[in-house]
Structures are given as structure tokens and as C-alpha cells.
């Protein structure tokens, strides 16, 4: 029988939630790496028992942990992320040049093609790759050394590379996103990159439709349509039908189009989910009502999903890496909150339940569907 493993990163450790395919009864394992911030935990699509975790604190720096047995045991692997060459500077919050400094790993993306290959998105923004299952990491420096790199500026959370999407049909094509530089794409396996921000408009920067400088919060893609990308920008839900070469807005009838997460149904490439957040200064749901919005039309037309979600006095946030879907026949949708709940829907979003409550603030949620 199929089963589901939900990998949860929190401010104070990692948790693994497991259930059989009915997704009714959940077992909670953790905290793993108790007391450490776990920005991201993700399993390899090639070998689901191989899982990587990004473990850090401001005190003791960055570690990377690897499990080869589905999370039962872990071993630290390489934790050195040296920038290639002399890193130079990017812009600081006040517009002055600031040296590139490694702070932490935000996102780990195990390769679709090789269990030993993983990409890491770090702060200050750069993309690293390991080809030896995490023992050593090497920067794909063509991104950071792009001619616009010196203009990049951090968002409020730091200048983080938080989204990494490998094309399932073309291993040389990778899309990444950086707050707040924007989205970039390589078509030659990371040697050269180009900004893919045409069509984005951001009121918070001097030139609203500049080539770079946009605060992209998250991008998602359905594997059957690698050219179709959906983006939750700081404000605005955006869609691209040409792998990011151009974008158009699909916020439609959303009550607010600020937010962090966005994801696609596993079986319906035009069904997407967002969690609207009140505004950039009020990081909680509108009117204290936690609502997932679903569009079955690839954006534009949205419906609120509320069954099982708190509809009063709810002031949590849902962070950019904290939503995921499973691939069971009736697609499961999962998201975690800064209040420590992980909500799940076993029916594509129609109804929800908290499968665990009162965890530390949730930073990331990933799902593995196991045979």
C-alpha cells in the first residue's frame, strides 16, 4: 500500500510525519536536530530513502545532514560553501556595496536525475551543487557573477536563493529565484544565466519593471509542463507559458495577492494553490481567516478553501517553502504555519485537518509519496 512521508523543517528542529495512503492516522517523529533551525528537508526523487536537511543556527553556522534510510539515521556531510574566486559586492539595504558573505542554506533540491547530485540555494544568494551526495559543494558561479549581480539587494529576510527548479525534460535547464533580485534561468547546466523577469512589475523598486530587483517569493512548475511556471511575487500571482521569458498576472479575484507559497496539483497542471497574506506589513491571513485559494484555471479565477481551517482569530504566516503536494490518486496538499500547525487535505483542498499542532514555527514542508 502507498504511504506518505511529510518532511517538516522548523525553527527548532525537523519532524517527519508518516501515514499510509488513507492519510488518516499520522505518526510524528522528532524533533530531529533539536534546537537547530532547519530551513529545509527534502528527499531525492531518485532514491526516496536519501534525504537531506539544512541545519543551522546563528551561533554555530551551517551543517548539512544526510539520511540514507528514510530519516531513521543521519550523518553530517560537507558544510563548506566557498564562493568561487573573489566574491565582490552586492548592494546592501542602504544601497552601498556589501561583501558577499555566506549566511545559511535556504533550500536543498535533490536532482531529478542522480541521487548523488543536489543543488543548494544559499544566502547571500548563490547556487551550489554537490555531485558526491553532499560531501563537497561547488558554486555554479555564473549566476552570482552575472553582470547584474552587483545590483542585487537583500529582502527583509536576507538575500536568499530559495527556489530551484530542474526541468524534467532538459537537465541543462534550471530556474532559480532570489529575494530580491528576481528569477533567473540557465540553459547550459549553470554556466550562464539570464534574468527572466519580463512582465513583472514591483512598486517597491525605483524602476517598476526593471530587469532585476523583484522580490520573487516562490515559483512552482508541474512536471508535465516544464514551460509553464507559476510565481508568488511579493505582491502578484504571475504565470509564464514560455519558461519565464515573459510573465503575466493571474491574481484575478484574490482578496489580496501578497503571500509566500504557491504550488500545483500533482494531477491537474492548471490547478494551483496559494495562501493569501494580508500585506507586506501584516504577515497574517486577511481578517484572521486562514484560507487556501485554489484556481482550476491556471490562475485568474480563484475559490476560497476553508473547510477545516480556522476562520477566526488566526494570525499565523505560511512561509515560502512550506507547501507541498503528494502524488496519490486524490492529490494531497500540505502546508505548515508559523504557529506550528501542519494542515493536510487528502482531497485536493476540499477539506483540511491539522495533522500535527504546536510544533515550532514551520519553515518548510516537503512530501514524499512512497510505493
Amino acid at each position: 500500500m502507498s504511504s506518505v512521508r511529510v518532511l517538516v523543517g522548523t525553527r527548532k528542529g525537523a519532524f517527519i510525519l508518516t501515514a499510509d495512503g488513507s492519510r488518516r492516522n499520522w505518526r510524528v517523529q522528532g524533533p530531529l536536530f533539536a534546537g537547530w533551525e532547519i530551513y529545509h528537508v527534502k528527499g531525492s526523487p531518485v532514491d526516496p530513502n536519501r534525504i537531506f536537511a539544512a541545519q543551522s543556527t546563528g551561533w554555530f553556522g551551517q551543517l548539512i545532514q544526510r539520511s540514507d534510510d528514510g530519516g531513521a539515521s543521519w550523518e553530517p556531510v560537507g558544510n563548506q560553501f566557498p564562493y568561487d574566486g573573489v566574491p565582490g559586492t552586492h548592494q546592501w539595504y542602504d544601497g552601498t556595496p556589501h561583501p558577499w558573505e555566506f549566511a545559511r542554506v535556504w533550500h536543498l533540491e535533490p536532482s531529478l536525475f542522480d541521487a548523488d547530485t543536489v543543488f543548494a540555494g544559499v544566502e547571500d544568494a548563490a547556487l551550489f551543487r554537490t555531485n558526491d551526495a553532499g560531501d563537497s559543494w561547488h558554486e555554479l558561479s555564473g549566476l552570482r557573477t552575472h553582470e547584474t549581480g552587483s545590483q542585487w539587494q537583500p529582502g527583509a529576510g536576507g538575500m536568499c536563493l530559495h527556489t530551484i527548479i530542474e526541468s524534467p525534460t532538459d537537465p541543462a535547464r534550471i530556474v532559480v529565484a532570489i529575494s530580491s533580485a528576481g528569477a533567473f534561468r540557465t540553459d547550459d547546466a549553470g554556466t550562464s544565466w539570464k534574468p527572466i523577469n519580463r512582465g513583472l512589475s514591483s512598486e517597491g523598486i525605483p524602476d517598476a519593471d526593471a530587469e532585476v530587483g523583484h522580490c520573487v517569493h516562490h515559483i512552482t512548475m508541474h512536471p508535465s509542463r516544464p514551460d509553464v511556471l507559476f510565481m508568488q511575487k511579493h505582491w502578484d500571482i504571475m504565470r509564464s507559458n514560455d519558461a519565464g521569458d515573459s510573465w503575466f498576472e493571474v491574481s484575478g479575484n484574490l482578496p489580496t495577492d501578497f503571500g509566500f507559497v504557491i504550488d500545483v496539483n500533482a494531477h491537474e497542471p492548471e490547478t494551483i494553490y496559494v495562501v493569501p497574506i494580508t500585506s507586506d506589513s501584516m504577515h497574517f491571513p486577511l481578517d484572521g481567516q486562514l484560507r487556501v485559494y485554489r484556481s482550476r484555471t491556471g490562475g485568474g479565477e480563484w475559490e476560497p478553501l476553508t473547510a477545516g481551517l480556522p476562520q477566526r482569530d488566526c494570525y499565523v504566516n505560511v512561509l515560502r517553502d512550506a507547501m507541498a503536494v503528494d502524488t496519490l490518486e486524490d492529490c494531497g496538499v500540505y502546508f505548515g504555519t508559523t504557529g506550528g500547525q501542519v494542515y493536510a487535505s487528502a482531497n485536493g483542498g476540499d477539506t483540511w485537518e491539522a495533522i500535527v499542532r504546536d510544533l515550532p514555527a514551520v519553515l518548510s514542508v516537503e512530501v514524499q509519496t512512497l510505493a
Binding site: F33, A34, G35, W59, F60, G61, L63, P76, N79, Q80
Partner: protein, 98 residues
């Protein structure tokens, strides 16, 4: 024999709940003690010192014999009581945060 006491988060990484005892080749100074510590427990590389510059991480402190050694030269000799094992060398996670 040098006795080293780590903060809780680093004890978890080394999987040693108590003190660590190290044989350190003279001269016994903070650099040689930390070099020996990292050689025994490679998982600690980068958690106490920046691996590139070897400088102390900002929220780490070093105490011994009721003195804060955080700002003394890493190559300065450690107190005789640390060198003989009478007193421990403490790696501290600074008090901060909530």
C-alpha cells in the same frame, strides 16, 4: 591532557555528553586546542571558527580559569592550569535570543 567543555548543541554533534579530553602538542594555545578538537571531530569544522579565516564565530566565546579569552590571541599560551588539565577550556554559545 586538555579538558574541553562544549555547549549543548555541539555536544549533540560530537555525541559526547560530557567533557572531551584531548592530547595537544605544545605549544598549548587556543589555536592548537581547537585544531586538535576539529581533527578529532570534523563535524565541528565551521561551527566554532570560520573555516576560511579561522576567526571565532561572532556568538562564540572562550572561557578558562574564570577569564574570558575570546579576545586574546589564538596563539597566546593557555593558562598552566588548562595545560595540566586542572581547569577546563570552555567553548560557550553566547547568551542571546529568545
Amino acid at each position: 591532557m586538555i579538558r574541553v567543555v562544549l555547549p549543548a548543541h555541539l555536544k549533540t554533534l560530537t555525541r559526547v555528553p560530557g567533557e572531551i579530553e584531548l592530547d595537544v602538542v605544545a605549544p598549548v594555545c587556543q589555536r592548537s586546542v581547537l585544531d586538535a578538537l576539529e581533527a578529532r571531530y570534523p563535524v565541528l569544522v565551521g561551527t566554532i571558527r570560520d573555516p576560511a579565516t579561522q576567526r571565532r564565530r561572532p556568538f562564540i566565546r572562550f572561557f578558562a580559569c574564570e577569564e574570558d579569552l575570546s579576545h586574546t590571541s589564538p596563539d597566546a599560551p593557555l593558562p598552566r592550569d588548562v595545560e595540566t588539565g586542572r581547569e577546563a577550556y570552555f567553548v560557550i554559545g553566547a547568551m542571546a535570543g529568545g
